[in-house]
């Protein structure tokens, strides 16, 4: 059982590119070996982190969503009692279509009307039969509806559901109608059930779930010029020559608009560090500090250039890292 000499990072595929950029720069500028960075999903990453303490377990779990109490409990049961939570920025989620196609200016209600399995028509819920965008919003082009939405495995889907579909559901009034019909013991249960109804998407082929990554979405968009796809901001920024981005509530997505909170569809990105490893795995402490430094995660750093929305509260994060503050209980 020889001691390991490199940092091991695993988790979210959304965080993976940022993590590799940092790891690469870290390897170049420090005397430590370059950390090994793995994708594979936030859930799987956190599960690996929670397997226990020791050189055969990973040091850091990247995550595109916040850790849950269940994971914290698993960790504790396996002896991982102290975890440091580091939020280093935000990921913007954008709608984009073929660069040669028409322009789209969406509101969440438009997306809801296009994709939900049940929509409001004349004040009542009916099965969604919309075939073209212009049918429910004349401002949108008269083009067949086809949305390439993130598959149910993706964390993006969670944000997509919450910030777009449920928001649209509420905007169109469908949510209220659902509330009236669903069963539930109390208000919050009812609310959850109504949310569940809202996020049921139509299954007639107008909504296509993409379980693969954004390159697949791009490829499908290339096959089907009518389609509207959902991408990460960084992916869009690297492919502006092929994609035309849609606005949401009139706001063009960019690192600035998201950082300012104008563009609604975004989510925080985290990584979780096992504090027990901090002084033990060579380079771990330095890597974590390097990651959140202004040189990397700052608004002018390479991560922001790549498409990360820099965290306005980065300084607080840097302080917390320096102080090795383990995370408290989830609120």
């Amino acid at each position: 059982a020889a001691a390991r000499d490199n940092v091991q990072v695993t988790g979210s595929s959304t965080v993976l590119p940022y993590s590799t950029i940092v790891a690469e720069a870290f390897g170049e500028n420090f005397d430590f070996p370059t950390p090994v960075v793995e994708g594979g999903g936030s859930g799987a990453g956190r599960a690996k982190m929670c397997e226990g303490v020791g050189p055969n377990t990973v040091d850091i779990a990247n995550s595109s969503s916040r850790i849950t109490q269940r994971d914290i409990d698993t960790c504790a049961a396996n002896g991982v009692t102290e975890i440091m939570e580091v939020r280093f920025g935000y990921d913007g989620i954008v709608f984009a279509s073929d660069v040669n196609g028409p322009e789209f200016n969406f509101t969440p209600a438009d997306i809801y009307n296009a994709l939900a399995s049940q929509v409001v028509k004349d004040g009542a819920l009916t099965a969604n039969t919309h075939a073209q965008w212009a049918e429910f919003n004349p401002a949108l082009p008269a083009q067949d509806i086809l949305v390439l939405s993130p598959g149910t495995k993706h964390g993006t889907r969670e944000v997509f559901d919450e910030r777009v579909i449920i928001a649209g559901c509420k905007e169109t009034g469908a949510h209220a109608l659902f509330l009236a019909v669903v069963a539930g013991d109390d208000d919050s249960a009812k609310n959850r059930a109504a949310n569940g109804e809202c996020t049921k998407l139509r299954t007639d082929g107008r909504n296509v779930d993409i379980d693969g990554d954004y390159t697949e979405t791009l490829q499908r968009l290339d096959n089907d010029k009518n389609a509207v796809g959902v991408f990460g901001l960084s992916f869009y920024q690297n492919n502006t020559d092929k994609l035309r981005v849609a606005t949401m509530n009139g706001v063009v997505p960019s690192t600035e608009t998201i950082a300012a909170g104008d563009y609604p569809v975004s989510r925080p990105l985290y990584f979780y560090v096992k504090t027990a490893h901090l002084d033990v795995i060579p380079g771990l402490k330095e890597y974590v500090e390097f990651f959140v430094s202004d040189d990397m995660a700052g608004p002018d750093g390479p991560l922001a250039q790549y498409g990360l929305v820099s965290d306005p509260e980065l300084a607080a994060t840097q302080a917390a890292v320096a102080a090795r503050t383990p995370m408290g209980p989830l609120n």
Binding site: T20, D31, V36, E38
Partner: protein
């Protein structure tokens, strides 16, 4: 027993009724059926070969460009003041200067060069000029200096990769039209590239580093290489071959030649064919549970990958081996047993050599599919970004983190920068080259053990 005389002959065919030189209707039909049958064979082969060609064509037309790379020939003055602010040339102080500092040095060098030659394009800022240089160039320069501090103060010639978009422009992937839309490059920068090409600083050449470099992050597709993936795949194939062949052949021999035919062997048999049907990801789950969590082997290591792939290919190889053992005629076994060879000797002296070509085919096919497998590696940490080369096998390299060729294909195919798509195809070409070598090996081996009865 007097059947023979009991009845007449079967109706004899009318004598001399038909000329051999003319075909009757039935014969014509049968010959047509024959021709059809043969045609189906040719058609089947053509379908496979045409598909193969189409795929190879796509791969090659997308991927060959990965083997070429544009680079900038720069003259860099290694300014002592900037690189060694303390002036003591000690490693400690030298390493304080980060790649950012070296990056500025290179940007300055290119801008100086342009100023010297009066090359300029309206609307290209010095910073945008700096974007011409790959982000891995500063790191390489820094390593050069750290390895040889004597260089400080000198003026050296330094070949830096051009960044991905510029490289793409030279390969035709990026055009003026696309640059107008592209947020990472402007048409003016491309005009500047044209000028630099004219001046002879920006050149394209065969890119060895595609085969030797480690992987690179999303921001520098131009420097991403297959070095670690090739080593990882080699390590794994070696380990798989030396594990799977003996175990597979031994198991097949036992099951085919020695095992009594009873419930127990039936169970094993069903088991093996079932294992062949288990999706490869499940082997990943198994590998994670057994080799990493239970046996505490390190994650991302070729040894774990090899163990998982061994378990995965074992059933395939056992099935193929058993089929070829079964094909050896029983009379050969009788002959050997008859001269007093033991069963073990019979198998090892006669049956196994005769079955060798089939075993080879099965093994190569099994190894080939193991070589291209990604899913099980997903769970044992080999689908990762690894930038440090594993050491040699003698120094425990099998236990160092590494990746594999299909993993590189897979992870590059999902990167956002379009430059990675050609790299991905390039990696497939390398993978195919591996495959070709394996197939040639198989053919050579098969020739040597050719059936001779």
């Amino acid at each position: 027993m007097t059947d023979a005389t009991a009845s007449g002959l079967p109706d004899a065919r009318p004598q001399g009724s038909s000329s051999l030189l003319q075909q009757d209707a039935l014969m014509k039909r049968r010959n047509a059926a024959e021709a059809r049958f043969k045609f189906y064979g040719i058609a089947a082969i053509s379908v496979s070969l045409v598909t193969l060609c189409v795929m190879l064509w796509t791969i090659f037309s997308d991927g060959v460009s990965a083997f070429r790379q544009a680079s900038l020939e720069l003259t860099v003055t290694l300014d002592a003041e900037r690189l060694d602010p303390q002036g003591d040339r000690s490693l400690e102080s030298l390493s304080k200067v980060t790649t950012i500092g070296y990056g500025n040095l290179l940007t300055a060098a290119l801008n100086d060069y342009m100023a010297e030659r009066n090359i300029s394009v309206e609307g290209v800022s010095p910073k945008q000029v700096g974007e011409f240089i790959s982000r891995d160039a500063p790191a390489r320069l820094r390593n050069m200096v750290l390895a040889d501090p004597e260089l400080i103060g000198q003026t050296i010639r330094f070949g830096a990769f051009a960044s991905g978009r510029i490289d793409g422009y030279m390969k035709g992937r990026v055009t003026m039209a696309s640059a107008a839309l592209d947020s990472n490059i402007t048409p003016e920068q491309l005009q500047l590239a044209d000028r630099l090409i004219e001046a002879g600083v920006l050149k394209s050449a065969f890119n060895w580093r595609f085969l030797t470099n480690p992987d690179a992050s999303d921001q520098r597709p131009e420097s991403a290489g297959l070095g670690i993936a090739i080593i990882g795949s080699l390590y794994m194939m070696f380990l798989v071959a030396i594990m799977v062949l003996p175990i597979g052949v031994a198991a097949s021999i036992y099951l085919e030649e020695f095992a009594p035919k009873n419930k127990w062997t039936d169970i094993i048999e069903v088991n093996i064919s079932n294992l062949a049907a288990v999706p490869s990801i499940v082997y990943g789950i198994l590998g994670l549970a057994i080799f990493i969590n239970f046996a505490k082997l390190p994650a991302s290591a070729p040894i774990v990958g090899a163990l998982v792939l061994t378990l995965m290919t074992l059933p395939t190889i056992i099935i193929a081996t058993r089929a070829s053992l079964r094909a050896v005629p029983p009379s050969i076994r009788d002959a050997a047993l008859g001269v007093g060879a033991s069963k073990m000797q019979t198998v090892f002296h006669h049956v196994l050599p005769l079955a060798a070509p089939g075993i080879m085919t099965g093994t190569i096919l099994g190894l080939a599919s193991a070589l291209g497998e990604t899913a099980p590696l997903l769970l044992i940490g080999m689908v990762a970004f690894v930038a440090n080369y594993p050491s040699s096998p003698l120094e425990g390299g099998f236990f160092d983190p590494a990746t594999a060729l299909p993993v590189q294909v897979y992870s590059w195919a999902s990167r956002s920068d379009p430059a990675f798509i050609e790299r991905s195809s390039g990696a497939i070409i390398v993978l195919l080259a591996f495959l070709l070598v394996m197939n040639i090996l198989a053919i050579v081996l098969r020739r040597r053990f050719e059936r001779r009865w």
